[in-house]
Symmetry: C2
């Protein structure tokens, strides 16, 4: 079975060297190109019932997250979101559903002063495709391919909370009401780190948003940058909800492999004073370092740790 | 049941007067906005199996049309297509299908020197959402709302051929092989009138592409422009395929109400010499005139004709 990455690489990647205005094409969190004196950015994400959200998910949460995941792509580039389009496929037009969905969408859009430019409405299985567009300072782009040897690797916020909420909804685990109420918003209403991304732009070398789990997403930075990394499992930032709900081992495993947290993972030169400054407003955790030697090595109490990911291999 | 237009109007239209950079928001063929010294254009269309194409439709035709309908939106604005994104939802990743789909997509893209900037791939019911972006001369935009009293109304090409092909595929009619082979490409591979749109820009007052049938699409121009029109049924351009397959009455009915032709309907001041010049390269047919009196009046042999559209009413 072809993966998403295989499909894109094999069928939809063409040589674009003849188009020097394309600063970043397929292969990062968003595309970037130069149009006269503007550097433009676009990202697109499809959000599908049964795949990205449960059939009983509240319309206000669906709308919020469909836009938030695109905002998170922008955060990971250091880009400013400005405009978006909406392609909405609906099984039926229920006024209550549409009212909740559209109000939630516009409430989040307003927070970022985003404008809905247009869209398309179709009758069919529930699916939301949002394309976000905006601008970026072309001298301060956060790409996946720019990690440097010796960079410190940071993550924002805590990891694994959305994964915990997902396991709860899938009835794989039982949570107290208090913990469930604490982690469900992490899954349904991820806070895109747009301001953090903009603050890091010009300082961090590489960045990605954690949508598929830290191990996989940091892996994208390493592959694109042709570098490796050592990270410490004990350093991963875990919430109190996560550590009280799960034994340490399972909590760390979720933090490493669960997606949907939409925090940022970035690499930055050692001792950049920006980190101290940003740490007043953001939870930023140093988890490891970029190495010349390829592969992602996860350390636990001095031993090499193998994450519970099917097909995982140490590349060293 | 809410129509697409109701949904957009009631739930997704917000006051954008605070954003003077938005030249055209929701409500035309594409959105147009000013970003520094660039005037940017975007349109988005979802193309869904079972709704916009039959389950056995060839992947090369699906790809072609999914991009062509967006190109047609650009034609109707007088815009230059430049970049696009693709959100592709697939039930399964079949290499043969992907090969045919992507080759056809890039072949059409190359004709217009379009660049695929990025996209998203998801597993689910077959659906293609393409967002096309580009630029436009801000002094030469073809809007729906700018028809003037006395303008002549023209359509390009012939009308009803795609509708005939659709009836054939739906087994509502039988066609000779020769006629079927002539009209099926009109349905599967509509030729977006991008060059014609660019040639009309700065001359025509209003334009729309005919995706939902002439009566409905010209109706959008009239509503947006607060004008009316008189058109002559006998003047509608019908192909030889259409008139040999159907009796005159049914052929005219299809030409008026069937969609998918993706020809342009535009209004232009009387006797603009551009028409004579363009008629050397394009089939352009004068079908009527814009009036102060609202409503679309269709004349047939001097009588008022009522098209076979559910809910159709003369507004005069």
């Amino acid at each position: 079975m072809l993966s998403e990455f295989d499909i894109i690489k094999q069928y939809f990647t063409r040589d674009i060297t003849a188009y020097p205005e394309i600063i970043q094409g397929i292969g990062d969190d968003a595309a970037i190109w130069q149009q006269k004196d503007s550097t433009l950015v676009a990202s697109v994400d499809t959000f599908l019932e049964g795949k990205h959200f449960f059939p009983d998910c509240a319309p206000e949460d669906i709308a919020y997250k469909a836009l938030a995941v695109n905002l998170s792509d922008f955060a990971a580039m250091g880009a400013i979101p400005r405009w978006f389009t909406l392609a909405l496929t609906l099984p039926e037009a229920k006024p209550d559903w549409l009212e909740s969905f559209s109000n939630s969408l516009f409430t989040l859009a307003k927070q970022y002063d985003l404008i809905l430019l247009g869209g398309d409405t179709t009758q069919g299985p529930l699916s939301i495709t949002i394309q976000l567009m905006g601008t970026i300072d072309k001298n301060k782009i956060l790409l996946r391919n720019s990690a440097k040897v010796g960079d410190q690797i940071y993550v924002s916020g805590t990891l694994g909370d959305a994964g915990l909420a997902l396991q709860y909804l899938q009835k794989k685990i039982i949570l107290s009401d208090q913990i469930a109420q604490a982690v469900l918003p992490k899954l349904h209403r991820p806070q895109a780190q747009v301001e953090l991304g903009l603050a890091l732009a010009g300082h961090a070398h590489a960045a990605i948003d954690i949508s598929d789990g830290l191990a996989q997403d940091l892996g994208h930075i390493l592959t694109a940058s042709h570098k490796g990394a050592d990270i410490d499992l004990e350093k991963l930032p875990l919430s109190e909800s996560l550590t009280s709900a799960l034994v340490r081992k399972d909590a760390e495993s979720l933090a490493l492999t669960a997606g949907d947290d939409y925090q940022l993972c970035f690499t930055i030169p050692q001792n950049d004073p920006l980190i101290t400054q940003l740490s007043k407003s953001y939870q930023l955790t140093l988890i490891g370092e970029i190495t010349e030697k390829p592969g992602l090595r996860i350390h636990q109490h001095g031993e090499l740790y193998t994450p519970p990911i099917p097909g995982w291999q140490h590349f060293n």
